[in-house]
Structure formats: C-alpha cells, structure tokens
Amino acid sequence: MSNLSIREAINKTLHEEMARDERVILIGEDVASEGGGAYGVSIGLAEAFGKLRVIDTPITESAIIGAAGGAALTGLRPVAELMFIDFLGVCLDQLMNQIAKFRYMFGGRASTPVTIRTMIGSGMGTGPQHSAILYPLLVAIPGIKVVAPSNAYDAKGLLAQAIRDDDPVVFCEHKAIYTEKCEVPDEPYTIPFGKARTVREGTDVTVVAFSRMVLLARDVADSLRSQGISVEVIDPRTLSPLDDEAILASVQKTGRLVVLDEANPYCSMASEVSSIIAEKGFDYLDAPIRKVTAPHTPVPASPILERAYLPSLAEIEAAIRATVNY
C-alpha cells in the first residue's frame, strides 16, 4: 500500500499498463513533455517507454482521437489524452460517429480498445471554455463507456480496467481533485465497470453523486450524521454502464433520493438517475427526488462566481434536509 494522490495513481497505472502490454501507447498534446502534460499526469512515461510509445502530437484533436481509434481497430490499445473535455467540440465526430459505432456498424466484427483520458470540471479558475463537465453527452452515446473516479484507489483500478477493456472508454479526471490522496495497493488490479461503491452507509436518504461531488456528499453526510441524519452516499464510479441496481436497492432502504451532479442541469446524470428511480423505484419513494446541479450557465471566470456556480455544501445539505423532512 502507498498513500497516493489521484494524479499519482493514474500515472502509476499508466506505467504499469504500458509495462504489462506493449500494445498500450499514449498519444496526445504535450504528453511526452518533461513536465508530463498540462497537469503532469504523464510524467516519466516518455523516459520509461520512449517516444515511439509516448507520442506528442500537433494540436489536432480530431486526428488524435480518430488515430487512436484507428490504431485500436488495427491492434494497438491506445490511451489518448484529450487535454480538457471542453475540446470535445473539435473532435466529437471521431468519438461519437466513428469509434463508438465501429462495432455496431460493422456487425460486431471489430473492436476498438481505446481509452480516452480527459480532464473535467470547474473550481480551478480555468474559465468558460476549460471547466465543463460534459460527461452527460458521452453517456448518451451508445458504444462508449464513461468512467469518473472520485479517489485514487478507484482511479487506479478503473483506469486499468479501461485500458484492458475491449470497448472504447472515456476516463474523466476531475482537475480539482487530482491531489486527493488515499491508500492504494502497490500491485495492479482492476475494478469492474457498472459496480457502484457505497461511500457511506445510511438509512434516512440516498445521495448519488458523481466525480468531485462524491467528496462533497461524503462531507455533508459526515456532518449530518452527528446531527442524527443518516445519509447513504453512493458513488456509481462508472456513468455508463450505470449501476441502477445499487441505487434502487439503496432507495428501497431509505425511501428518499438526492442526486448531485456538477454538470449543467438539463439532460444531466442527475436527470438520468432521477428518471430511473421515478420509473423503477416509484413505490419506494417517500419524497420528491431532488437534483442538485450547476445552473444552466457557462462557468464564469470570476472565482466568486465560480464558487457560486459549483453546488455548495450548504445547498447539498439543504436539499438533503428538505428531502428527509418531507
């Protein structure tokens, strides 16, 4: 066991998986730079595996993502870095219409084992074009899987699974929690997709949270516990596939649900989870399902406005209390 940050866990996993399988390559902008990319995640990889396997590219996201897909189709297992998920806009076609659909369009006769690592989220002052969440858009696309770890242990196991998985996976790293640490086994391991983690057990209300929101949910749960409210916090870890059953089982127990999502509200994961329970868990519900999300606005540059943008502990607590007291 080592105490690792999410950033370190991801870096370590990349080292392990590249050592384990020489078909694994890393491709993206500045990934082979000495600093290890924009946020230092790929540090040391070019030195360890050479520039034939750790490949710096021009600023051409469609070509990067598409080439990673084409390489996956023909025998490699590429990990492509899309520096910020906000850049999906310049390369979505290669992901949505090509990579995601190869297998289906080609009658099941192709597989595309590509992993796309990307940074999501606000909270770091990166402004309107570098702070989006956007994973709902990916969850909507048949043919890809979407993962968003909230701690270093999960990051390591889920990234290893993503790289070894034979389907395309988008791996979403929240930039504001790269430094979060926890104990992580030294040896490689994988965590299966579609299995939620129960972060806190509780009986009064279920809180489903994604990515960074898991940390806020945990903190609120801990503080409410001392006030006699027992909150169950569930981190689905993978957004597609989603562990409906775990959520349903929890709501069956608690009868109440709050969903936290840093995404913009409409057609978000908060909406998705809520709608699943409104259909399959209706009889369990004793209160309306509340969603706590970012507002329907871009992410502002001002730190004060950015703080107002992000769901706060106070808002989360208020939603939980309102649900419990309903």
Binding site: P58, E61, G66, A67, A71, P78, Q94, N97, M105, G108
Partner: protein
C-alpha cells in the same frame, strides 16, 4: 513499368467487377429491391484498382460514402457485400451498416463512411499501428474532392507528416460534391497536401496505368519508412450523387461528354499495353463476373432479414460484464 498478362487480367477483372456490381445494384435499387442510399462509383474504377493492387489483406484502407469500388478492389466478398446492401442478417455488417458502412477487418477494409472526411484520421491510426509495430504495412485514405475541405483531413495530413506515418492520401477529384461543382482548379488539392511537406502529385485517375505506377512509388515510400504521400486523381462521376439524383445542376452535354470520354475500362482496353490480351479470356472474365453476380444477387435478395432482437447486439463487446 512492365506488366505481366496476369497483372493486366487482374486489373481488368477487378475494374469490371466493380462496374458490373454497381450496374446490377442500380438496377435492383431502381426496382425498389434495395433499401437506403447508394452512391455509385462508376467512372472512378481505375483509382480503387490501381491503388489496391499494391496492397495485401494486411494493409489498410479507409473509404468514403462512395465505397463499393474500394471494397471490391480490396477484396471484400461480393456476396457478403450484396447481402449487406440488402441489409440481410448475413451481410458483411449483419445488415446494420448498409452501403455506407461496409467494412471487413480481415481484408484491412476499415469501413466506408457516411461522414465526409471521417476516414482519414482512422487511416492515420492504422498507419500508426504499422509504424509502432514496424511491420511494413501501409494505410490508404480515400478522400473526395469535397471531403478534402474538411478540417479532419487537414489534421490528418499534419499528423501523418509530423509522425512520418506510412500513409497515402488518395484524393478522388470528380469535381462534384453532391449537387455543387467544385470551385477548385485541378492540382489545388495536391498542392494543399504538398504544403504540409509530403510528396504530392496530380494524375489522371481514369487511366489505370498512371494510377498503378504512381501508387507503386507511394506504397514503396510508405513501406520503407519514407512517410506519407498525397495523390490527387482526377476522375469523372458518371452518374448522380446518389442513385436517383436527377442531376438538374449538370448540363446534358457535360454528362454526355463525361460518359463518352471518361470510361476507365475502355481506356484500359485501348491502351497499347493491353493489345495482346486475349478477347476470349476477357469474355471468360466477363462471364465469370456475371455468374458471380447472378448467384450473389439471387442469394442476397432471398436471404433472411435480421431478427428484431439483433437490434441490441454488438453495441459493446460487453456492457455490464456479460460475456459476448
């Protein structure tokens, strides 16, 4: 360059097979027997064949919406293709892709593509595999003149240059994108590619020999680590954009002239290098093609449709941990 009779018969057969395949599907389509949309390649056969005769099943191509010629030249099975055009269960894509998505991994055919400009990044990826594994394979992206304007194509040119990928950008300039005549003078497309720093030429795409010889060099360059090449092959789109397009936007005279002067198969047969081909053998090839097509069409039209439950198959290899 010297041509053995075997090479010449092979070239003829491949071009003729494309031609007859498409004439047959046009007829079936016009009778309502094939669903979807069909974009006919006629007039451009010398390109697909002149390129793919240099490639083995281990090499890669990424195709376009006008992909039948590329598929056939790369060796996809005719019956499986027809089954796919008819969207049948045993089609090459199990009926899920149709005309615009025919793909065959066993043949290095990475898919026709209904997104204009969708193919080149994928072909670059296949070339990256070849470079990484150092296995001497090459990868060809077919690109229409209209598609050449897409940003994805520019990005792929750049990536291929920077990484020195074993890749060929094969532009098929038929002067039309859908219903709009291209404003680009011939040679401009190659010039754009050349400006990235790769060898780039403009050639007559209706002449098999020109295409074949140009590609010999480009493929060799790719296989030996010399990086990418761009080829702009000028050709004529014989029919409308898709089957059924009435071509209001094109004068009758232009169409007549195109059809009269731009037939790659006629040109091939009249070339001095073909003067010793045996008419009997040509006739035998023609007959063989007809019998292949007769059998394939008959089987395809009679074959089983997919069953509705197949809708859900093959989205993922495994979504919720189930084994496929």
């Amino acid at each position: 360059m010297e041509y053995t009779p075997e090479t010449l018969y092979r070239a003829y057969r491949s071009m003729k097979l494309i031609r007859e395949f498409e004439e047959r599907i046009r007829a079936e389509y016009q009778q309502g027997k094939l669903p979807g949309f069909i974009h006919v390649y006629r007039g451009q056969e010398a390109i697909a064949v002149g390129v793919c005769m240099h490639l083995s099943d281990e090499d890669y191509i990424a195709s376009t919406h006008r992909g039948h010629g590329h598929c056939i030249a790369k060796g996809c099975d005719i019956e499986d293709m027809l089954l796919e055009l008819a969207c049948k269960q045993d089609g090459i894509c199990k009926g899920k892709g149709g005309s615009m998505h025919i793909a065959d991994m066993k043949k290095g055919m990475l898919g026709a593509n209904a997104i204009v400009g969708g193919g080149p990044p994928i072909a670059a990826g296949a070339a990256l595999t070849a470079k990484t594994l150092r296995n001497g394979k090459v990868s060809v992206a077919f690109i229409g003149d209209g598609a050449s304007d897409q940003g994805t194509v520019a990005e792929s040119l750049n990536l291929a240059t920077v990484l020195q990928l074993p890749m060929i950008f094969l532009y098929e300039n038929n002067h039309y994108a859908e219903f709009t005549k291209s404003p680009k003078p011939d040679g401009r497309i190659a010039a754009r590619a050349g400006a990235y720093g790769m060898p780039a030429v403009t050639i007559d795409g209706s002449d098999f020999f020109t295409v074949y010889e140009t590609l010999a060099e480009a493929v060799e360059r790719g296989r030996t680590g010399g990086g990418p090449t761009a080829v702009e092959a000028i050709a004529t789109r014989y029919y409308g954009h898709f089957e059924g397009d009435p071509q209001q936007y094109r004068d009758a005279a232009e169409i007549a002239a195109a059809r009269a002067n731009a037939d790659p198969i006629e040109k091939f047969l009249q070339d001095h290098r073909c003067k010793d081909l045996d008419p009997a053998q040509i006739a035998a090839i023609d007959a063989e093609i007809q019998s292949i097509l007769d059998a394939a069409v008959e089987r395809a039209l009679a074959a089983d449709d997919p069953t509705p439950d197949q809708l859900y198959a093959d989205v993922y290899l495994s979504y919720r941990g189930e084994t496929a």
